[in-house]
Amino acid sequence: MDRARLLSSVKRIQLVATRLVENLLAGDYRSVFRGPGIEFDEVREYVEGDDARQIDWNVSSRMDSPYTKTFREERELTLVLIVDVSASVMYGPPQRARREVVAELFALLSLAAAVNNDRVGAVLFSDRIESWVAPKKGKRHVLRLIADTVAVEPKGRGSDLALALRTTGEALKRRGIVIVISDFKTEGYLPDLTLMGRRHDVIAIRIVDPLDREYPSTGLVRLEDPESRRTILAPGAVAGFRNAYRDYREEQRRSWEADCRRRHIGTLEVHTDADPAAQLIRYFEKRKSR
């Protein structure tokens, strides 16, 4: 992607995401992710209507007027977005759609966190950690993150999700929110996902292209896997071949869902042929009402 297109793409995503977040998502986001508890904020003069139970008698006697304690929810939430930038997401014709969806989801989630004054960190991974940004507050920081994510030129091709989960787990000392955005075309990440699920609030967002469900009825074509570079001959006209592909994909989906459920990890499938924001909002609304 050339520089100009990249910049305009970043601008567009930032703009759209900001508007969506301010209008719709921020509230949902906050209500889905509550803080870990109530913390004392300050003591101020009692005004009519305050809860009398919260009067701080020690201070009141010292000041000779009623003072009341105020509390607030724990604000110091930390959101870490683990983003798959492997070749299966980033590379080649049908993957263009996946890449855009990933960028959009990233922007929406990080901006929602920023609006709620949370700290946002990001891990971009392929077969290595492509970039690690420590959680920080502030909208400027988040906008910067979004730009970097959209513009990322990954050096690796594969997708080592286990490594990304381990790295995040080691860096994130306090309880936080971890959202994994990936196509989950990877294996061997379950032990790390289990650990992560125990310590943090984890949501797995799976990007799904229509071609990830069914193989279309086409002529014979040689396919190359962007990650392993393995090639196969795909006789798309043969029903047996298409069925085998569909069954394989369905089995992948089912086992992914079951694995996440068992670990009390939220699952969301985002389809590339529909608006990702709408799918995200619907998911949050559903989760809030639970």
Binding site: S86, A87, S88, Y91, G92, P93, P94, Q95, D127, G158, S159, D160, D183, K185, T186, E187, G188, L211, D212, T218, G219, L220, V221, R222, L223, E224, D225, P226, E227, S228, R229, R230, T231, I232, L233, A234, P235, A237, V238, G240, F241, A244, Y245, Y248, R249, Q252
Partner: protein, 333 residues
């Protein structure tokens, strides 16, 4: 024998392994679409074997076999035949064979005089090279069976098919000689020879043997006469080729040796008597040895191009691959 006109072209075959590699195994080749069917760290999607992919593999094999055939065709495959050809004119020989019933006398191996004579004649023919040989049969009448020709296989066929009594009951030695001489009359051969084989007395025909022999002699044709038979009474058994009747009997009349000597003398040749198989063979060997003209020959090499066969097979193989890929599998790229 097969040879190649341009064997150097076969070096093109060395280009095949790299071409096969580039087409089927090279990672950097084009003509493929990126499609994430894999799973990092795992197996990913393994397509089940289908008949179509199997056929496509078969087509690929056919394609490369076809290309190999094209390269061989390009190298110019030729069938080479070597043939010894004579550049000199051989001598003309006409063999006049008695087909009268007495030739059925069973004093010769394997069956009778006639069969023994046929056997010896065929050995004689086989031993000659480049000498046109003809065949005249005579009984009551005489007839040309084969004109002097180098087509020995044809001659031997006809000889084999000759039967006693075909030309009637009788021995027209004079007629036989005359017919043989007639068919040598226009010959341009350096030597012309008649070999007359008979066991009897001239008892038919309008031409006297001496007259015919003299005529032959005057044309410069040599006449060898071979008298066969023992003279003693012998049994005969003969089947009439027209009626299918089998006749049996005993012959006693020996042959007219004086007459035969006279014929040979008139024909500037020689008379031989052959009482047994061995003697008959020896007589022919003697004639074979004496009657030789100098022959010069050369080896002619003939090359018949056979590229079309290879080209056709190659083209068919490549078109087979085309049909499999484009029609059956509907290949996109």
């Amino acid at each position: 024998m097969w040879v190649l006109d341009r064997p150097a072209m076969l070096l093109l075959l060395f280009l095949l392994p790299p071409a096969v590699y580039v087409r089927h195994f090279w990672k950097g080749r084009g003509g493929k679409l990126v499609f994430p069917f894999g799973s990092w760290g795992g197996d990913g999607f393994r397509p089940p074997p289908t008949i179509v992919t199997l056929l496509v593999g078969l087509g690929a094999v056919a394609f490369w076999v076809g290309v190999s055939f094209l390269i061989v065709a390009l190298a110019g495959p030729q069938r080479v035949t070597r043939e010894q050809v004579y550049i000199t004119r051989g001598m003309d020989i006409v063999i006049a064979l008695d087909q009268s019933p007495t030739m059925a006398a069973r004093d010769f191996q394997p069956a009778n005089r006639f069969e023994a004579a046929k056997e010896v004649i065929s050995d004689f023919v086989v031993s000659r090279e480049n000498d046109p040989i003809g065949l005249v049969g005579f009984g009551k009448e005489a007839s040309l069976r084969v004109p002097p020709t180098l087509d020995y296989p044809h001659l031997l066929n006809v000889l084999d098919s000759m039967r006693i009594l075909e030309l009637g009951d009788g021995t027209a030695i004079g007629m036989g000689l005359a017919v043989a001489a007639l068919h040598l009359s226009q010959s341009t051969a350096p030597r012309r020879v008649i070999i007359l084989i008979t066991d009897g007395v001239n008892n038919a025909g309008e031409i006297l043997p001496e007259t015919a022999a003299q005529a032959a002699g005057s044309m410069g044709i040599q006449v060898y006469v071979i008298g066969i038979g023992s003279g003693a009474p012998v049994e005969i058994e003969v089947t009439d080729p027209d009626t299918g009747q089998t006749l049996r009997g005993t012959v006693e009349d020996g042959f007219d040796e004086e007459l035969l000597r006279g014929v040979a003398a008139a024909g500037d040749g020689a008379y031989f008597y052959a009482g047994t198989n061995g003697a008959l063979g020896a007589v022919f060997e003697a004639i074979d040895t004496v009657e030789r003209v100098e022959q010069r020959s050369l080896l002619r090499v003939q090359q018949l191009p056979r590229f079309q066969l290879f080209l056709l097979i190659g083209l068919c193989c490549i078109l087979l691959d085309f049909v499999i890929r484009r029609i059956l599998a509907q290949e996109v790229l």
